[in-house]
């Protein structure tokens, strides 16, 4: 190329899109999971007390809480049932580990299809390295 400062973004545009960074084009759906995901979904840590988490999540008007580590990497999910149970379990015992996730770059139409096929009521949006972007509710897409 003969230019003094040439850099090669080797991971390319697929990597860029999968992290929810801005891209455009005729094949890019108008609305993406990353655009519609609720970024304010409550989170908690493995070491948090379940009773405290329950109170905080209810006060915020949610019935789900995402368990993350210090880098916001998703470890698990506390659903309605886990949060409703009045047991002495820890967050780690009560959570569902390894919940289904999608990338922010998936279009909302394709996302709804996937949610229906798996009979889910919501799905987590994460970056490829597992960091939480937000939660998409089935009801908001239907």
């Amino acid at each position: 190329m003969g230019f003094p400062r040439v850099n090669d973004y080797v991971a390319g545009k697929k990597d860029w899109g999968s992290y929810g960074l801005p891209h455009e084009g005729t094949n890019v759906p108008e609305l993406l999971a990353g655009d519609v995901a609720h970024k304010d979904v409550p989170t908690c840590a493995l070491a948090d007390r379940l009773a405290d988490v329950r109170e905080r999540v209810r006060a915020a008007g949610w019935d789900a809480c995402i368990v993350v580590n210090q880098y916001r990497v998703v470890l698990g999910r506390l659903g309605r049932k886990a949060l409703a149970a009045d047991s002495g379990e820890s967050v780690e015992e009560a959570m569902t580990a390894g919940p289904s996730t999608v990338r922010p770059s998936i279009g909302t139409d394709a996302l709804l299809e996937r949610i229906r096929a798996r009979n889910l009521t919501s799905i987590l949006v994460t970056t490829p390295d597992g960091r939480l972007v937000g939660l998409v509710l089935r009801a908001q897409l239907e």
Binding site: Y9, W16, G25
Partner: protein
């Protein structure tokens, strides 16, 4: 000069702080289907001819295609 391999965070840094020039080197059709916002398209086969005309030598250039493949 061999291009320096950089990751996503470095791309963002070069764009934000160094006025980097993003260049997709895939064919025009693929560029039109999907590209990073702010990128221009110079297909690989046309780089030698077009780059000197269309790019600023004083600013960093970031080339990319689809992915590792």
């Amino acid at each position: 000069m061999t291009p320096r391999s950089i990751d996503r965070d470095e791309v963002r840094g070069l764009l934000a702080e160094d006025n980097g020039q993003l260049v997709e080197v895939l064919p025009a059709e693929e560029f039109s289907e999907e590209h990073i916002i702010g990128a221009i398209n110079i297909p690989l086969k046309e780089v030698d001819e077009r780059a000197p005309r269309e790019l600023d030598r004083e600013r960093p250039v970031i080339v990319y295609c689809n992915d590792y493949q």
